[in-house]
């Protein structure tokens, strides 16, 4: 034991340390100006990400409450990287905000919650992590303090989140009642597929589906995404979703392995619904944030296909896709965030003629959208191909055909945005924007990620080597 808990929980300690630094700055007597705080936070988050890359060990703590291994470490690193990119991108928006420190304290609390959630080896620990990650998110959604829509979004989020937590808790309590244990490693021995167990499992899946906004549990998504500040929206759509997806894979692949046939069918239905509904609604959106909200719902549908693969390749492809999705979605959100912070414009029509005034931002947005649509040579192509390939391993070609049709539909609406940017004429396009250094760095990271994660195969090979399958 000894100092194990210091080393194994290294990444958590790092986040806690940053939280404390921010807290001391807040209570200290010296007044910091916003730009210094933002730069400091960016440096700290970068340090946090880099520190996460080295010196990691596998291990179990506190009676399997907390476990860590190389895959979990990698997942946490993906989240850290995403948070760093988001912090870089929020520069323009937070520069004139009164509560920068609070923003980052809340943000890092949710990140800490996600870390604990991913590392959980016990349903109780998982639930604690989940709550720690979702309650501060509601406060974050409300961070455009003057806007009514923002508080509306926060309210919607807290209610739906509380509801889904209720479902989860109900499921967890049933599981406990039926098996007498909450530890992941013990649970699977007690699962035999009795109707009550399946009922408990369905409750759990419903709770998860709320968090990843899979159809039919997606109804909160669009409104919350639209009302929240863009930065928070990107955090919602990438980081918080990614964390839950990681846990979902672990839970399904290890704990609920005995119920594999049940959850295959459930996920099959969920993924078809999620893809189809997400895509059909995305076509009709005119607000870019809502548009990306629905497109990210559809993306979750594709991720669920990968999960149904229930193989070594399945879990690897999910983690790999989430990494790519982080780069692509953050690239797109970064542009929208910048434009929205400076001009307040968020509609697709506003982006007509965007290429004439802002070629760099246009390419960033276009490449991100191509990656989301799965067009080579962007990484999105590889991500989607491997997800679908993992799903096809089950031999259910109907699902693959539905996925293929959805890829065409999704291409349509992504291209609609590209068309507005490059082809449509506009008498009053968005003026030429000056890109501050830190968002610019974020764009470079995203573009490099989009172009390299796919073509450089060892990213996938590395993730594959860490993943455990059935």
């Amino acid at each position: 034991m000894g100092l194990d808990f210091l080393i194994l929980m290294k990444q958590e300690w790092a986040v806690i340390a940053i939280l404390f630094i921010l807290l001391f700055i807040k209570v200290g007597s010296k007044e910091w100006n916003n730009e210094n705080i933002l730069n400091l936070v960016n440096v700290l988050l970068l340090a946090n990400f880099v520190a996460g890359l080295f010196g990691n060990r596998d291990g179990i703590l506190f009676n399997e409450m907390f476990k860590t291994n190389q895959l979990i470490v990698t997942e946490k690193n993906i989240l850290s990287l995403g948070t760093y990119i988001i912090a870089l991108q929020s520069y323009s928006w937070l520069k004139n905000h009164k509560h920068v420190l609070e923003f980052y304290m809340l943000l890092l609390s949710t990140l800490l919650g996600m870390f604990y959630m991913i590392s959980a080896g016990n349903l109780l620990m998982f639930y604690l992590g989940l709550e720690l990650s979702s309650i501060p998110l509601a406060a974050l959604a409300n961070f455009d303090l003057e806007k009514r829509k923002s508080s509306e979004a926060a309210f919607k989020f807290i209610i739906s989140s509380a509801f889904s937590s209720g479902l989860l808790l109900f499921g967890i309590s049933l599981v406990y009642g039926l098996t007498g244990t909450l530890t992941f490693s013990d649970l699977s021995q007690h699962l035999n597929g009795s109707p009550l167990q399946i009922f408990a499992f369905i409750l759990l899946i419903a709770g998860f589906s709320f968090k990843i906004s899979a159809v039919p549990f997606h109804l909160w998504t669009a409104d919350v995404y639209e009302g929240s500040p863009v930065t928070v929206t990107s955090y919602f759509s990438v980081i918080s979703k990614a964390a839950v997806l990681f846990v979902l894979v672990t839970v399904l692949y290890t704990v609920f392995k005995p119920l594999a046939i049940t959850w295959y069918n459930i996920l099959y239905v969920l993924s078809v619904l999620t893809m189809v509904i997400g895509n059909l609604f995305a076509i009709r959106q005119r607000n870019l944030k809502r548009f990306l909200a629905f497109s990210s719902i559809a993306q979750v549908g594709f991720i669920l296909i990968g999960i149904t693969g229930s193989s070594h390749a399945g879990s690897a492809s999910v983690v790999y896709f989430v990494l790519i999705y982080t780069f692509s979605n953050l690239g797109a959100f970064g542009v929208i965030s910048l434009v929205s912070a400076i001009t307040g414009k968020e509609h697709i029509e506003d982006y007509k003629g965007f290429y004439k005034s802002n070629p760099f931002l246009s390419w960033v947005l276009a490449i991100s959208l191509f990656s989301l649509a799965g067009i080579p040579p962007t990484a999105g192509f590889f991500g989607k191909f491997f997800l679908i390939m993992a799903g096809a391993g089950q031999g259910n070609y109907l699902l693959i055909i539905i996925a293929a049709i959805n890829m065409i539909v999704s291409l349509y609406y992504y291209l609609k945005v590209v068309k507005a940017i490059f082809m449509d004429a506009n008498e009053h396009p968005i003026e030429k924007l000056r890109i501050p250094p830190s968002p610019r760095l974020a764009f470079y990271i995203c573009i490099a990620g989009i172009l390299l994660t796919g073509l450089m195969s060892y990213v996938y090979e590395y993730i594959f080597s860490l993943s455990t399958g059935f």
Binding site: I388, M389, I400, I401, I405, K419
Partner: protein, 500 residues
């Protein structure tokens, strides 16, 4: 020879274009890059001949295999046989001609040349791939540049056409995706699966599986090559595209489909190819006849050529569907011939349009008197299209018909006869279009001030004409180039028959 050079050269050129300033630099760099590609394609032909002459009988030469995604058995496996070499040559001709005709592309020139070159990366990569994942990757690489080229620099209802083209081609590649995954999971290589074209061709895939996935692959690739009834993107896409993009689309992009139908669908699933041959032939015959008659009704020069492309690409599919050695060789020749001919046609139409600002046949007239060079180019392309001996069109179509006739089934013979008959219709619309727009009195006084082709246009047209005539007068070199490749395909198909 390192085949990756064919991908690297255009890629490097495309990247270099991004750092250029002004049209002059951009086009110079592009031309240098395109010439380098052209030379390396000729060089490839030369070393290929040398290898074959030295008695190297392996199916694919210059084989290179690099493990890309090891856990999924995805390899970057490249190599060429005669069919690929022919397609690479075609690509090189069209790329350099495309760069030359876009010489005065003012608006957003950097992006334009970047996308053109990027498109050629996709085409070269596609033709050298021996791994069906890599092949699929390059197939999709070429979709988005087309969308942007048409949507940004096109004319007419360009956004509509661009979107239609992108979605239909995406639909094609989605079908291909299903077909590929179906194939992959039904391969068995010591318990593992494989994407490798050579490995898959060596194992026998269950006939029921083939019959299930062949339609996905064939229709998927077929959409790219205007398989009836999925040809509707062709007329809109071609007519809205800027000249160079039309040349790329008809000259290279449609050939991706034909090549895929042959190399992936027919070669890897020969049982199913036999099984579905009647359907393929029916659709091909409909495309040939329908395309020809639809062309008769067109008034826009670009639409004329686009619909005639539907008809001509029908010959490719007909040749593949007939499944005889000669007919498949003819199909490949038709791909090369049509690629060169249609690129020349679009180049000529583009030159006329950039001077007269109209493509409507009835508004043109007497152009032969004012712009004789361009008009002659137009006539040559037209004569090649209608299959005049001496040009490549005759050789290719003749080979397809000969091969088709070898198939003794009476319905197949009927299809062959009907397809042959369409040549008469072709002659009607070509001669009518050429006659109305080139002969007679000068339709518009302003046309008298027109200037004839500039050096770059002459060079572009000259190169393509050299290609056409070289095939037309001395077809044996192309025939000998292609034949070993088609023999391997026929062995595969023959094996399938004997297994039955």
């Amino acid at each position: 020879m390192n085949l990756s050079l064919l991908i690297i050269l255009p890629l490097v050129t495309a990247m270099a274009v991004l750092f250029c300033k002004g049209l002059k630099q951009v086009r110079t760099v592009s031309l240098i890059g395109a010439s380098a590609q052209f030379l390396s394609a000729l060089g490839l032909l030369w070393v290929y001949w040398k290898e074959r002459a030295a008695g190297n009988n392996s199916q694919f030469l210059f084989d290179f295999n690099y493990t890309w995604f090891a856990p999924l058995k995805i390899h970057y496996h490249i190599g060429v046989d005669g069919i690929s070499v022919a397609m690479i040559l075609l690509t090189a001709f069209v790329v350099i001609a495309g760069v030359l005709v876009s010489w005065t592309q003012e608006t957003l020139n950097k992006e334009f040349f970047f996308l053109l070159l990027f498109l050629s990366v996709g085409a070269y990569g596609y033709f050298i791939s021996l791994d069906i994942f890599t092949l699929f990757f390059f197939l999709e690489v070429a979709v988005i540049p087309k969308f942007l080229l048409i949507g940004i620099w096109g004319s007419g209802k360009k956004e509509y056409s661009a979107m239609k083209l992108a979605l239909m081609l995406m639909a094609g590649s989605s079908l291909v995706l299903v077909g590929l995954l179906g194939l992959y999971y039904n391969t068995n290589l010591d318990g593992a699966h494989s994407f490798d074209l050579v490995e898959i061709s060596r194992m026998h895939i269950d006939t029921a599986v083939q019959n299930l996935f062949f339609p996905f692959a064939f229709i998927g690739f077929g959409i790219f090559t205007a398989l009836f009834p999925f040809h509707t993107w062709v007329p809109d896409g071609h007519s809205s595209a800027p000249t160079a993009a039309s040349m790329f689309l008809a000259g290279i992009s449609m050939k991706l489909g034909g090549y895929g139908c042959l190399r992936v669908a027919t070669y890897l699933m020969p049982d199913a190819a036999h099984h579905y041959a009647p359907v393929i032939i029916l659709l091909a015959t409909i495309a040939i006849i329908y395309g020809a008659f639809a062309t008769m009704m067109q008034k826009d020069l670009k639409y004329i050529n686009a619909y005639s492309s539907v008809s001509h690409c029908g010959f490719v599919l007909l040749g593949i569907g007939m499944l005889t050695q000669t007919s498949i060789t003819g199909a490949v020749m038709q791909m090369v011939s049509h690629g060169l001919m249609t690129a020349l046609f679009f180049a000529a139409i583009g030159m006329i349009y950039s001077r007269t600002h109209t493509r409507m046949v009835e508004q043109l007239g007497g152009l032969l008197k004012v712009i004789p060079f361009i008009s002659t180019v137009f006539v040559i392309a037209g004569l090649c299209s209608l299959g005049l001996p001496g040009f490549s069109g005759f050789v290719a179509e003749m080979t397809v018909f000969m091969g088709s006739w070898q198939n003794p089934d009476k319905w197949y013979r009927l299809a062959t006869i009907l397809s042959c008959a369409s040549i008469v219709v072709t002659a009607v619309y070509i001669l009518r279009a050429a006659g109305r727009s080139l002969m007679g009195v000068v339709a518009n006084n302003q046309y008298n001030q027109l200037t004839d082709a500039t050096w770059n246009e002459r060079l572009a047209a000259g190169l393509l004409i050299i290609g056409i005539v070289a095939i037309g007068i001395a077809p044996f070199w192309l025939y000998q180039l292609i034949t070993p490749g088609t023999e391997f395909i026929m062995q595969q198909v023959g094996k399938a028959v004997s297994l039955k």
